[in-house]
Structures are given as structure tokens and as C-alpha cells.
């Protein structure tokens, strides 16, 4: 099939290219309807990745958060018109110990393969899941981001010791919001405390037990486990504060992406016997768990609606650029492109 793919060829320059994509077998052809912009897309779009990274990865279609409708399923599982979420991680092998999102052989749309900015996206059946009926497609658009939090929660559950009275989440951005919401839902017995820099953002975390500023006195907090959801320049001070605050033998889930090396006070990590582990991306199982969460807990979807920032109908390359520019300027929330290319 001839398929038009909208690739970033250099920072801030997107060009359409038509590619021939093989069909048949059990492939599913999906028409993207709602695509959501991630910080990672912005780092490529704005040229904030190191030049050698840009050199090796571009041209490439961005966007790894998106939903659409099935146009045709050669395997016959999904009826045309079915609303589905598209999974950007594509494993090339099965491993009994390593999750698909950590396998070095896996590809990831918008990072090591073309992302979802395409006329039609052709996927194998394992990379497509049906959405719950009637779900707000603007929320469903960033299911991938929620699944990253669900994945982090599952890792936490497997690695953290059993005392989970208080869980601290550092970061008052989108990821901090979603991680707090996911922890609230999956660990209802735990006290969820969010620690951030901005009062106006923290005020929106209405579902947590406590919201503190990083500059507040935190000495009264007894944090058993922590999540770092800051990334960028904020990672250093967040990790420093976590290590200083957290109880011995706690776990520290690292989720924030930083382009620069982050110094860590290993002396205190050793003294407290802390477990720091990274968590990134997600796999098919995490997407399935996320959709289950949406279905069993509609409140989660309602809270996520508050993250919908800009919604822009995109029918030209210039519209795509406008969506990315608008997304850069907003302090919080997600930018959703209604895909009309």
C-alpha cells in the first residue's frame, strides 16, 4: 500500500513522503484519529537532542501516543470502525526475563522507527488493543503515557518491600499527575503525597492526600517509597531530596528523562540501603492493564480529562507545526492533534 508518512527531516521541518508498506497476513490498517504530543517528540522537533542523535534518527515520523479506528484487519479480528489504541513498542523477540520495552532489539515508534504521524498505520495484531466503548478519544490519545505510569506501578509492586504506608511522588507536571493518579487507584491503602515546585499546579492534585512544595519543610514526612517524575534540570534536586527524605530500604522509581548526567549521593543510597531503578516506556501488557483501569475506574478517565490542554484539528503540515508550537508554550496539559491529514 502507498502510505503518506509525515517525517521530521530536520528540527521544525516536517515533510510528507510516500512509502510502500506491505499488507496482508494478519496486519491491521489503522486510521489515526487523535495523536498526542510528548516531551520526547518536542526534543526532536526543537532539535534539543544531541546533533549525532538527530543525525542518526532523522528523517523520522514523530508521535508515539495515539488512537485511531480500524480501516481493515487482514486477520479478521477487528471490525472496520473499531476504536483502538496503537502500541508504539515493537518487540522482535520473546524473553522470559526482560520486558519487551527494555529489550535492545525492540523498536519504538517516534524513536527508532516511524511514529504515528502517518496517513494510515499498519500494525501486527499484538500492537493494537480495542478501547472501551464511549471513551473520550482525547483522553485515550495519551493512553501510552498512562501505560508508562501503570508499568512503573507494576515494577514498584514487584520490587518494593511491603510497607507502603506513604508513597511520595516528585514532580507536578503531566507525568507526576498521572503517576499520582495511578498510584491512588492501584494502591488505595497508601497515603499519596506529591512534592512539586508550583502551587498553581499542585492545587489541581485534588485526589492526593497531601501536596507539598519542594521548598517546604518535609521533615514530618515519612516516605516509604518514592517516584521521581521530574526529568530535565529538575532531576538532580528531586533525586537529592528523595534520598534525603526517604526511609531506609525504600525504593526510588526513576521516570524523568534528562539529557545530561545526573549526580547521585551514593553515600546516602548506601547508608539507607535504597533501591533505585529506572522505568521507561511500556509494553502490550501495560496497555491492557491501563484499559482495564479505565473500565473499572471511570473516575481515572474523568481526572485525566483535566490534562486535555490544546485540541487542534490538523489538516496540513503547517497545522502540525502550529500544534507543536502551541504545545511548547503551555505550562501543563497535553496537546491533542485531531488527525485530518
Amino acid at each position: 500500500m502507498l502510505n503518506c508518512v509525515y517525517r521530521l527531516v530536520e528540527p521544525r521541518t516536517i515533510e510528507p513522503v510516500t512509502l510502500e508498506v506491505p499488507l496482508g497476513g494478519d496486519r491491521i490498517v489503522v486510521r489515526p484519529t487523535h495523536l498526542s504530543i510528548c516531551h520526547a517528540d518536542q526534543r526532536y522537533y526543537q532539535g534539543k537532542r544531541p546533533p549525532e542523535v538527530l543525525e542518526s534518527k532523522l528523517p523520522m515520523a514523530l508521535i508515539h501516543e495515539g488512537v485511531g479506528t480500524v480501516v481493515h484487519d487482514f486477520g479478521g479480528e477487528y471490525a472496520p470502525g473499531t476504536s483502538v489504541v496503537m502500541i508504539p513498542n515493537a518487540p522482535a523477540e520473546d524473553d522470559p526475563f526482560i520486558a519487551e520495552n527494555y529489550l535492545r532489539t525492540s523498536t519504538f515508534g517516534g524513536s527508532t522507527a516511524d511514529g504515528f504521524m502517518q496517513e494510515l498505520v499498519v500494525l501486527p495484531p499484538s500492537r493494537v488493543l480495542p478501547l472501551p466503548d464511549g471513551i473520550d478519544m482525547r483522553v485515550a490519545a495519551f493512553t501510552e503515557l498512562v501505560s508508562v505510569s501503570v508499568h512503573a506501578a507494576a515494577r514498584f509492586d514487584g520490587l518494593a518491600h511491603g510497607r507502603r504506608n506513604t508513597i511520595g511522588i516528585w514532580g507536578d507536571g503531566n507525568l507526576g499527575f498521572i503517576q499520582s493518579l495511578v498510584m491512588r487507584s492501584l494502591f488505595p491503602e497508601s497515603r499519596i503525597v506529591v512534592i512539586g515546585r508550583n502551587d498553581y499546579k499542585l492545587a489541581d492534585f485534588t485526589f492526593v492526600d497531601d501536596a507539598r512544595r519542594t521548598t517546604d519543610d518535609l521533615s514530618d514526612l515519612v516516605i516509604d517509597h518514592a517516584f521521581e517524575c521530574c526529568g530535565g534540570d529538575g532531576s538532580v534536586s528531586a533525586i537529592e531530596q528523595i534520598i534525603g527524605t526517604i526511609q531506609p530500604e525504600g525504593t526510588v522509581s526513576l521516570l524523568g528523562v534528562s539529557e545530561n548526567p545526573v549526580p547521585i549521593n551514593t553515600r546516602m543510597v548506601l547508608e539507607k540501603g535504597l533501591r533505585l531503578f529506572g522505568s521507561s516506556r511500556s509494553g502490550c501488557r501495560d496497555f491492557a492493564r491501563t484499559l482495564e483501569l479505565y473500565e473499572n475506574n471511570p473516575d481515572v478517565v474523568e481526572y485525566l480529562e483535566s490534562l486535555i490542554g490544546v485540541v487542534r484539528c490538523v489538516s496540513s503540515v503547517a497545522d502540525i507545526a502550529k500544534a507543536f508550537e502551541e504545545d511548547m508554550r503551555k505550562p501543563m496539559g497535553k496537546t491533542i492533534m485531531e488527525w485530518d491529514m
Partner: protein, 248 residues
């Protein structure tokens, strides 16, 4: 966005492949049979339509003498979609070919009052899913639609070919592409009602609709939805098809 609101009438695609190809470098081979990527142009075009669920049937109208080969290509390259594709013989002119499609529909299924026919040049393989879906929706809403892109060059009007008569305001002018889509019953009525002299002039069905005061909606086309007319167009088309391999 795919709509399966197919309750209001059946939807047909008519892929017009009647061209003799005499304008191409190789006069023996109609241009829709040239290779583009790994497959002939006509296969690339038909596949885009066959993938759209709204279509009850994709009718390919081949020039006399090319019907068997066209059928073979559909079976060879699109085996899992072939059940939805029918190849029939087209006519001498564009409107004759469209009439062949309408006659086929009438004989096989009968033409219902809400049936839609989406007509498209076989030699426009870069048609997108959006354009096709929007054609179906616009034909349902307005009874007829034309796919267009805004004119980029200045349009100059001259009657004698020597002097400028006028230069119209460019923002009001568009270049016509295909698909052109219609309510099938109204299209049949209009084509059958054309007199001999009109037939010679009204080669564009949308034009005939508009001249009779019927609404024809505009559907946003795409500059890449080009028509492969000349050998040089094939070179451009091959350059458009990037060497990206399998994606996603």
C-alpha cells in the same frame, strides 16, 4: 475518520482505467500498468479503495483488450481483497466509461435512491484514505462532490490564445483532481439526459452537474494526488515513493 453509517445506500467505487496510454513513452502500454514501487500503478490505486470498508464493490473499468490482464493483476497482487473487486470493460470516453459502471451496478444490484458512486482515475495512485472517506461523506450530504486543490499558478483567461482576456482572482480558483463522487441515480439520469452535442463538451460529470444548477461540494485534495499523464510524471511519482521499507 471512517464512518460505517452505511445504512443509507450502497457505496461503489469506479476506477477509470480506460486510457489507451498513447501519451506515454511506450505507446503499447497504458500508463496504469507501469510499475510504481513494487506493483503496477493500477494496483496501488485500487488497493486504497478496496481497503475502505464503506465500499460494497470496487469496479475497475479497463480498456477493451486489457480486462483479462487487469483481472490477473488484481488476483496476483491483492488476493485478500480480490473478492470485493470486479473488472469490467470501460467505454470510449470518460462519461461512457462511467455509464459502463452504472450499467454494471444496475444489472448486478439495481440502483437505489441513496447509492453513491465514487469515480477515480486509475492513474492517481497517491489518493489518500482521507480524500476517499470525505468523498463518500460529501456525496451523501450534497449529491455530488469534486476533489480540488487551490490553484497555485495564476490563471490567465484568453479566448484567442494570443491576448489576455482577463486574469481572475486566484483565490477563487481550484484545480480539479479525482475522485468525483455522485448520487448514482442522479448521475445516471444526468448522463442519459445529455444530448449528442453536450456529450462532446461536458466530458466532466461535475461540470454537467454544476451547469444544471445542482450542488457540487468541494473536497480538499492533495498536491501529491497527481495524475500520471506523461512519462516525466512517472519519474516524479517514483521520486515521491520514498525508499523507506516497512514502517511502524
Amino acid at each position: 475518520m471512517t464512518s460505517s453509517a452505511g445504512s443509507d445506500g450502497r457505496v461503489y467505487a469506479a476506477i477509470l482505467a480506460g486510457g489507451s496510454g498513447s501519451r506515454m513513452g511506450n505507446p503499447d502500454k497504458p500508463k496504469q500498468f507501469w510499475m510504481l514501487g513494487s506493483r503496477p500503478v493500477i494496483v496501488q490505486t485500487v488497493e486504497k479503495f478496496a481497503l475502505v470498508d464503506d465500499f460494497d464493490e470496487v469496479i475497475v473499468l479497463a480498456a477493451a483488450g486489457w480486462v483479462k490482464q487487469t483481472r490477473d493483476l488484481m488476483t496476483r497482487y491483492l488476493p485478500s481483497l480480490a473478492g470485493k473487486i470486479t473488472v469490467v470493460t470501460g467505454g470510449a470516453e470518460r462519461n461512457d466509461t462511467i455509464m459502463c459502471a452504472l450499467r454494471h451496478i444496475e444489472q448486478e444490484h439495481g440502483i437505489g435512491p441513496d447509492d453513491i458512486i465514487v469515480t477515480h482515475d486509475a492513474v492517481r495512485p497517491f489518493v489518500t484514505n482521507r480524500i476517499i472517506v470525505e468523498n463518500i461523506a460529501a456525496a451523501r450530504e450534497f449529491g455530488a462532490c469534486d476533489t480540488v486543490v487551490p490553484a497555485t499558478d495564476t490563471i490567465v483567461h484568453s479566448v484567442d490564445g494570443r491576448l489576455v482576456e482577463s486574469i481572475p482572482r486566484r483565490s477563487e480558483y481550484y484545480q480539479g483532481q479525482t475522485p468525483q463522487s455522485f448520487n448514482a441515480a442522479r448521475l445516471k439520469e444526468m448522463l442519459e439526459g445529455l444530448g449528442e452535442d453536450e456529450r462532446a463538451i461536458l466530458t466532466d460529470a461535475c461540470k454537467a452537474f454544476a451547469l444544471r444548477g445542482q450542488k457540487v461540494a468541494l473536497v480538499r485534495g492533495d498536491v501529491t494526488n497527481m495524475k500520471l499523464t506523461y512519462t516525466s510524471d512517472m519519474r516524479i511519482a517514483r521520486a515521491i515513493v520514498g525508499d523507506g521499507g516497512e514502517d511502524a
